[in-house]
């Protein structure tokens, strides 16, 4: 429910149309002789003035973004149960420590003796992630989950090349997140789907048939996108390793088993960890995230450069290593995100991290219990931190998952994930996370039940939702057909 009538805000380019000489910021004073650019730079390279760039006052900018902010939903507003996104609370302490000038105002290419504290943060975070996952090596460099996937798959490619093997295929379950097959092809592999069995887990027989000498790796999400643990993971890893392949784990769902199970024991060779999911760093409206990758002994030599190493009480950087796959981005990673994640791990500690996954799983099972019957559960297999319903009961009244999602907005909740898993038609993938109070989870369940009732009694009300949001249902088809991706002065 919106708190006020504010519904639109003009574009900044529509403000101060006459460019009345307003200023938003004063620069430090010129205390050196002025230079005319055309006197020292080639004339052909100098910019023509652009009369359409903004010139507004400071408070106009503050008001502009304050008003825009009021058009957004946020984790702080209510339950944000996007499945596989782990939209947990973003602790304010982490925001505070990441803004310390000793972290934010240092340069990645300063002499290492001037940034020992920063290198310590990275080294300690790396050690903690190795410990949590039971793996031998780590890189903190990847900027996001998909970037971590690419890093892991490129390491696998290099390890196989070192064995003199040129395998061309990566196997990905049909329940996987879209980045998995995209990563495989981005890394030069052909991605082939493994069908799911009747319980939503990998069909071992199908895997057996697909797993030949062309297969470099199998990418698995544990638990998978249905929230179901691959209960035969050890057999899968043995089968894959026995035929010369490697196991890539998508760690998007680590929040469900940290402190309960170990990827090292599952036979993983590489696994990325979304710090912006399990380790509470903010999603930021679409990033920045961080996707560190932990690896088995077999892949340690291929970890990206630069690497932070500890020598006694000092930390150093290794920039060159012929075995390494090389750097995947500039510098060491999204460092200020790494600071936040370490603050989270230190705060929760061993006991808190285990409680974290316990309550995350408990809440998901509460949702499952309360909504089962009202919404259809295609896979009745026990699930961990998330549960995937579908809209087949409501579809009888021509109400689909998108409609349910939009109606949830009117009830003041963010909708669940709907775009995958592809194996569930009309999916509603719900992940409450552990940080909210149970009252919030219960209120969400009540809203879902109320919407299911509306779908029977007043289906049009649901189909025409949302009714209470700053804008009504947005015409996404028109956006793609009449493409307009920037403001132009002709308007």
């Amino acid at each position: 429910m919106r708190r006020r009538a504010l519904r639109t805000e003009p574009l900044i380019f529509e403000r101060n149309p006459h460019r009345a000489g307003r200023r938003g910021y004063n620069l430090p004073p010129m205390d050196v002789p002025e230079v005319d650019p055309s006197a020292v730079l080639p004339a052909a390279l100098i910019r023509e003035p652009d009369p359409h760039m903004p010139d507004v006052s400071e408070m106009e900018v503050i008001q502009h973004f304050h008003r825009l902010s009021q058009l957004n939903y946020a984790v702080d507003e209510g339950l944000y149960p996007l499945g596989s996104c782990t939209m947990k609370y973003n602790p304010r302490l982490n925001e505070e420590v990441a803004r310390l000038s000793g972290f934010s105002a240092i340069h990645p290419l300063q002499p290492v003796k001037q940034i020992q504290g920063a290198l310590r943060v990275m080294w300690e975070l790396g050690e903690a992630l190795k410990s949590i996952t039971g793996m031998a090596g780590v890189t903190l460099q990847p900027a996001a989950g998909a970037h971590g996937e690419l890093t892991g798959i490129l390491m696998i490619r290099k390890a196989l090349a070192a064995r003199g093997e040129n395998r061309e295929v990566v196997l990905v379950p049909d329940s996987a997140h879209g980045t998995n097959p995209a990563t495989a092809s981005f890394a030069g592999f052909r991605s082939v789907e493994i069908p799911s069995g009747e319980h939503g887990t990998v069909d071992l027989g199908a895997l057996d048939g697909l797993m030949d000498e062309q297969v470099a790796a199998v990418m698995l999400t544990v638990p998978n996108t249905l929230g179901v643990f691959e209960h035969r993971i050890v057999e899968i890893a043995e089968l894959v390793h026995g035929r010369g392949g490697l196991i890539y784990l998508d760690g998007a769902n680590l929040n469900s088993f940290a402190g309960r199970a170990s990827p090292g024991l599952m036979g993983a060779d590489a696994m990325h960890i979304n710090l912006h999911k399990t380790f509470s760093t903010p999603h930021g409206g679409g990033g920045p995230g961080a996707g560190p990758v932990v690896v088995s002994e077999a892949l340690v030599p291929y970890l990206p450069t630069p690497r932070v190493v500890r020598r006694d009480d000092r930390f150093e950087l290794v920039w060159q290593d012929p075995d390494s796959i090389g750097p995947l981005r500039g510098f060491f990673g999204n460092f200020l995100i790494l600071v936040r994640a370490l603050a989270y791990i230190r705060s929760l500690g061993a006991d808190g991290l285990r409680e974290m996954s316990e309550v995350a799983v408990l809440y998901a099972n509460l949702v499952r219990h309360r909504l089962k019957g009202t919404y259809h559960l295609k896979y009745d297999t026990p699930s961990l931190h998330e549960v995937v319903f579908d809209d087949s009961i409501q579809a009888r009244h021509e109400v689909h998952n998108t409609d349910i999602a939009k109606r949830l907005l009117d009830y003041g909740f963010h909708p669940p994930t709907m775009s995958f898993p592809l194996i569930v038609h009309g999916a509603l993938m719900i992940e409450p996370t552990e940080s909210v109070a149970p009252d919030e989870v219960e209120a969400f369940c009540d809203a879902m039940i109320a919407i299911a009732r509306e779908a029977e009694t007043e289906p049009e009300l649901v189909r025409s939702a949302p009714h209470e949001t700053p804008v009504r249902r947005v015409d996404e088809v028109r956006a793609a057909r009449n493409l307009k991706v920037r403001w132009t002065p002709e308007e």
Binding site: A143, H147, S191
Partner: protein, 452 residues
């Protein structure tokens, strides 16, 4: 009970009871016993005050760019960061929200990205810009892969100027190893610039891309019109990489000079140096190639009532729809950093950005003049080449030792180039911004006098 976990002991017991379970362990029955662990080998939980203190201690051991006159650059710059930027970024409505897949409750983020795309495309001299990429290095990679796709994968070679940031080139090497794309590196002439005739000669029938950084790694402005022409004649796309985005305050974006892609790093627009991240990659191209563009894109449309609204668009290019055939595997990008740049650009304004760039230029020219006037072993590596706010300084010894000595003299002198290789002399990359005061310049020149 940890404060970041929402359920108390009684809550947990009540829920377990409702579920008909006797213990939490029952919830994990599907986890096979062989992979279970009894707990984590980490220290126990900590209270807020203890964590705050331990981080303050770690932070205090670093030497910040604010504590001494700083001339560090090489792709990461210390520009003004108005307090307004962090105030906006600290709003939970922006920093705690997810990617705006639900446009009805994400218009704030979507409109901010639309404004970001507009600002970047205007600065780049291009028609369209995306919602961000990870950083400048991966933006170069995406530009190369974009060129390869746009020319339908028939041309498998790229020509990259050696004066593109060496770290960007290393990242490109990592990515292309698996793709069959071959990278040729083109050395600069004796003036530290890429000769368009040499670029034309390096481009063969199978080249898809000519990648140029300007101002280049050595701080020198490249002959962009000549290089765009060379690429056009060679049948390749011309890609400009910008590592110091403030230069666009006085320098024309490559789009208005014949380039097909303008991409790079926009950390200078209000993003903290942050020991290397998070920073802000950007990517702009002509509208005719928009379907080959990587990353997210926000478009304008209307809602049911005909009111203007924004949403993510052309997602058929992206991994969550296209899966293995996506233009890139990028998903999470640098959204909040794009917001920082939007706030920063709108606050500084068109006039402010031009003044800032002019100020950087004036301070850099002043420092170059003072060094040239200094009797001693220090010299500019390329004294007659045009620079914006950075230049290569050669001194009496190996650059990394000189940087250490200058640091002992109280200045963070810049980035030594020795470790990066290159056909240029070993030296120190010295960067100047509008925050470099006349007294910082005095301090630098004084330190050179004592070390030389």
């Amino acid at each position: 009970m940890h404060p970041w976990i929402g359920a108390g002991h009684d809550d947990r017991r009540n829920i377990l009871e409702e579920l008909g379970l006797s213990s939490i362990d029952d919830l994990f029955a599907s986890v096979p016993p062989q992979v279970r662990v009894a707990g984590l080998d980490l220290p126990g939980s900590s209270d807020e005050e203890s964590v705050r203190r331990s981080f303050a201690e770690m932070a205090s051991t670093n030497t910040t760019m604010n504590s001494l006159p700083s001339f560090l650059g090489a792709g990461v710059y210390r520009h003004v960061r108005p307090s307004v930027v962090d105030a906006v970024l600290s709003r939970a409505e922006f920093f705690t929200s997810y990617t705006p897949y639900q446009p009805e409750i994400s218009q704030g983020t979507l409109q901010a990205i639309f404004e970001f795309q507009t600002l970047i495309s205007r600065l780049a001299g291009m028609e369209v810009a995306n919602a961000s990429l990870y950083d400048g290095a991966t933006a170069l990679v995406e530009a190369v892969l974009f060129s390869h796709r746009t020319l339908r994968g028939k041309r498998n070679r790229v020509v990259v100027a050696e004066t593109v940031h060496p770290l960007y080139r290393s990242v490109l090497a990592t990515y292309v190893e698996a793709t069959g794309i071959e990278v040729n590196v083109l050395a600069p002439g004796p003036d530290g610039r890429i000769d368009p005739a040499a670029a034309r000669a390096a481009l063969r029938d199978d080249s898809c891309c000519l990648a140029i950084q300007s101002p280049n790694f050595l701080g020198i402005l490249e002959d962009l019109p000549g290089l765009a022409e060379a690429a056009r004649e060679g049948g390749a796309l011309a890609c400009e990489v910008v590592a110091e985005a403030v230069s666009l305050g006085i320098l024309a974006g490559g789009g208005s000079l014949g380039f097909d892609v303008v991409c790079g790093e926009a950390q200078s627009f209000g993003v903290a140096p942050g020991c290397g991240g998070p920073h802000l990659g950007f990517f702009a191209c002509p509208e005719k190639h928009v379907r080959q563009m990587p990353g997210r894109l926000v478009g304008q449309t209307v809602d049911e009532d005909g009111q203007r609204a924004f949403c993510l668009t052309l997602s058929t290019r992206e991994q969550h729809i296209r899966r293995a055939k996506a233009t890139s595997n990028i998903c999470t990008n640098q959204g909040l950093m794009a917001l920082a740049a939007t706030v920063w650009l709108e606050l500084v304004g068109s006039t402010g950005l031009r003044e800032m760039a002019t100020s950087c230029l004036a301070r850099s020219e002043e420092l170059k003049r003072r060094i040239t006037a200094l009797a001693g072993p220090w010299r500019l590596a390329y004294p007659s080449s045009p620079t914006f706010n950075e230049f290569l300084l050669v001194g009496p010894g190996p650059s990394s030792e000189l940087v250490d000595q200058l640091s002992a003299e109280g200045v963070l002198a810049g980035v030594p180039t020795a470790a990066w290789g290159g056909s240029w002399p070993d030296g120190i990359l010295v960067a100047v911004t509008e925050r470099t005061s006349a007294s910082d310049i005095d301090a630098f020149v004084g330190a050179l006098g004592r070390v030389g």
